[in-house]
Amino acid sequence: MSGDSQGYKVVLGVIGADCHAVGNRILTSVLTQGGIEVVNLGVMVSQDEFIDCARAEQAGAILVSSIYGHGELDCQDFRARCEERGLGDIVLYVGGNLVIGKQEFAAVEAQFRDMGFDRVFRPTVDLAEVIALLKSDIDQRRPAGLRNSRALPAERLSA
C-alpha cells in the first residue's frame, strides 16, 4: 500500500496522563505505510495540544488513543473544544481501551459518539479498514472543489 500522503494528514497521540506507547508506535508505522502523513504527538497529550497541532499542521483528522481507562474523563467535551477553537468540522477518531473494565463495545461506542467523535474503535480493529475509512472521511469533509485533488499543498486546503 502506498499513496500520496500529502493529501491525508492526521494528528495522532495518546490523551491525558496515559503513557502507553506501543500502540502509538504501531499506528504510526502502519498508517504511514498506508499513505497517511502522521504528525505524532506521542503519549500524554492534552486536548489543547491535539487542537493546537491540528491547526498548525492543517490536519484533516485527529486520532486520539486512550489505552489506560481514563478515556471517559480525558475526552469529555473534546468536540466542543474543537468548535471553540475553530476546528468544528475536523474528523475526530478515538480508539483503544477507552473505559475502565471490560464493557460492551456498543455502549462505549455510543458514549464516545455522544462526545462528538466520528468513529470509535476497539483495540482489535483491523488497521487496513481504518486507513480506508480515514481517507474517505477526510475526502468528504473537504471543500467540494478540492476533493480528490490530493496533490494540493496543505496550506491551500483550508484557504
Binding site: 496522563a17 503519549v43 481501551n97
Partner: protein, 482 residues
C-alpha cells in the same frame, strides 16, 4: 546533571526536603514519622511483607500477588478482601493521575466515581485518601499489602502509604521514569527515588523492614533480559546505598521458556555479584516474575493459557513471587472474578510444577551465558561513564544510548535499540543502537535472526518487529507472515 551522585542523602537536607514534599497536597499534613513507626510496629507479623518474602524464600515457596485498585476506599477494601483467599500478598495499584502527581484530576475521578457508582479511575488514589483513608484500608486487610504504581516522583505517595502501614513499595528512579513518563529528566527521577529509598532506610534504622521492589518488566514489550537486569541491578545498588535492606528484583516474562528460566536464574546471581562487589553484605534479596506484560489475547481462554505459561516458568525457575495477570487483561481493569480466575489458574500450575525436578538444558545454560556477558558489558560501561558512580553513570548511559529500553515513551531514552524474536521466540537484537555489546554476542544475535529470516523467506525489517508485538494477542509467539 548538577549534583546527582550515589551517596546517602544527608539527614538535614532530607528533613528540609520532607517539609516541602508534605506540602504537595493537603493530605501531606497528616504524615508524622513517629506515628508512622508506631503503625508499622503494631502490624501483626502476618501483615509484614518482608516476613512473607523471607519465609517463602527459606521454604522455597512462590507467593502469588494480583494487581488491583479502584477509586474509593470501601470498594477497594472489598476488592482486596475478595482476592485475599486466592493470593499470598496483596497489592494496591495506584491510578494514573496520582502517578503523575495530578491530584486535582484524581479528586475529580473520585467525585465522579462516587456519583457514577462505579470506579472511573484505573487505580486507588492513595494520596487523595491520605494517611487516614489508607490506614482504614490496611486495618481492614489480613495480609501484607504493597503499593504498586509507576510514579516518577513518588515521595509524597511513599510518605503517606508507609505511614499508613503498607509494608512494601514498588518502583525506582529508572523503571518508573523510562516506561511511565515523557518529559521527566532521569537525574530528577533518580534523585526523587533516592528520597523514597532513604525514607525506607530510616524505617530500617528504626527496626522496621520495608520491602522495596524495582519494577522489572519496564515496557513489557520484547524487552531483552539484559536490559531489565541492568536496570534492576542499578536500582538495587541505589536503594542499598540509601539504607534499604529488603529488595525484590523483577523480570517480565518474554515468552521463550529457556530464555525466561535463564533470565530469572541469572538475575539473582548477577545482582548478588554487583551488590557484594559494591561492599554490601547486609541485605535480603528475593525475585519476582511477572506473567507476560505485553499485549494479551482478547479471548479469555487464550489469555488463561498465557497466564499458565508464565506460572510454569516462574515456578520452574523458583521465583519468590509471581505477579498474576487476568483473563480480562486485553480488555480492561479486571473484575474481582476475573482476577480470582487468574490467581486460581496460576495456583494450579504452580502446584503441579512444585514437586517436579529442576529442568536444565544446554539451551538454558547458553542463554545464561549470553545474558551475563551482556550485563557485564553494559555495567562496565555505565561504571566507566559515571567514574564509578552508578547514579551518574545511569544518567549518562541513557543519554548516550548505552542503556536503551525498547518502545519507551520517555525523552530520556534514546529509543534506537530494537528487539525482534528469533525462530524459537527468544528475544534478540534487530538493532543494538548504541549499546556496547561484545562482538561475539552481536554475531550470535545476528545469526539467530538470520535463521528466522530464512525460515520465513523474508528479510528482517521493522515489519517483523510489528508482527512480533502483535503475535501473542493473535495466538502465536513469533509474528510469522500470514
Amino acid at each position: 546533571m548538577t549534583d546527582l551522585n550515589n551517596r546517602r542523602l544527608d539527614a538535614a537536607a532530607f528533613d528540609a526536603e520532607r517539609g516541602e514534599v508534605l506540602q504537595g497536597w493537603a493530605t501531606g499534613a497528616g504524615v508524622c514519622f513517629a506515628d508512622a513507626l508506631r503503625v508499622q510496629e503494631a502490624l501483626p507479623v502476618e501483615k509484614r511483607f518482608a516476613v512473607a518474602l523471607a519465609e517463602a524464600d527459606a521454604q522455597g515457596h512462590t507467593l502469588l500477588q494480583p494487581r488491583a485498585g479502584v477509586a474509593l476506599v470501601r470498594e477497594h477494601v472489598a476488592l482486596l478482601n475478595g482476592l485475599s483467599p486466592y493470593c499470598d500478598v496483596l497489592p494496591t495499584t495506584i491510578d494514573a493521575y496520582t502517578r503523575h502527581n495530578r491530584y486535582a484530576e484524581a479528586q475529580e475521578g473520585i467525585d465522579r466515581s462516587r456519583a457514577a457508582g462505579t470506579s472511573l479511575l484505573n487505580g486507588f488514589p492513595a494520596v487523595n485518601h491520605g494517611v487516614e483513608g489508607c490506614r482504614r484500608l490496611v486495618e481492614a486487610l489480613e495480609k501484607p499489602v504493597q503499593v504498586r504504581h509507576g510514579t516518577p516522583d513518588a515521595r509524597l505517595l511513599a510518605e503517606i502509604t508507609l505511614a499508613a502501614g503498607f509494608s512494601s513499595f514498588e518502583g525506582g528512579g529508572i523503571s518508573y521514569n523510562i516506561p511511565y513518563a515523557k518529559h521527566v529528566p532521569l537525574e530528577r527521577s533518580i534523585r526523587h527515588w533516592q528520597y523514597c529509598d532513604r525514607l525506607v532506610g530510616r524505617f530500617e534504622e528504626a527496626g522496621i523492614s520495608i520491602n522495596r521492589e524495582p519494577f522489572g518488566p519496564l515496557t513489557g514489550t520484547l524487552v531483552p533480559p539484559f536490559v531489565s537486569h541492568v536496570v534492576a541491578i542499578l536500582e538495587g545498588l541505589l536503594a542499598l546505598e540509601q539504607g534499604v535492606k529488603c529488595i525484590t528484583l523483577g523480570y517480565g516474562q518474554a515468552g521463550n521458556v529457556a530464555q525466561d528460566i535463564a533470565a530469572l536464574r541469572s538475575l539473582r546471581r548477577l545482582a548478588n555479584h554487583y551488590f557484594l562487589n559494591a561492599g554490601f553484605t547486609d541485605y535480603r534479596l528475593t525475585t519476582v516474575f511477572h506473567q507476560w506484560m505485553g499485549g494479551f489475547p482478547e479471548d479469555e481462554s487464550q489469555a488463561t493459557a498465557v497466564i499458565c505459561l508464565g506460572a510454569l516458568v516462574a515456578r520452574q525457575a523458583r521465583a519468590t513471587k509471581i505477579i498474576v495477570k487476568t483473563p480480562h487483561e486485553a480488555s480492561g481493569v479486571p473484575t474481582l472474578e476475573a482476577n480470582q480466575a487468574g490467581l486460581k489458574a496460576t495456583r494450579q500450575m504452580v502446584n503441579m510444577i512444585s514437586d517436579q525436578n529442576r529442568v536444565d538444558s544446554p539451551d538454558i545454560q547458553m542463554e545464561i551465558d549470553v545474558i551475563e556477558a551482556e550485563v557485564h558489558a553494559v555495567m562496565r560501561e555505565i561504571l566507566r561513564l559515571g567514574g564509578g558512580d552508578v547514579a551518574r553513570g545511569a544518567v549518562l548511559a541513557f543519554a548516550a544510548g548505552v542503556m536503551d529500553v525498547p518502545f519507551a515513551p520517555a525523552k530520556a531514552n534514546l529509543g534506537k535499540l530494537t528487539p525482534v524474536r528469533d525462530n524459537h521466540g527468544a528475544i534478540r537484537l534487530f538493532d543494538v543502537g548504541n549499546v556496547p555489546l561484545p562482538a561475539d554476542v552481536l554475531a550470535f544475535h545476528r545469526d539467530k535472526i538470520a535463521e528466522r529470516a530464512r525460515a520465513e523467506r523474508r528479510d528482517p525489517s521493522f515489519n517483523m518487529v510489528v508482527d512480533d508485538v502483535r503475535a501473542i494477542s493473535a495466538s502465536k509467539l513469533v509474528g510469522r507472515p500470514a
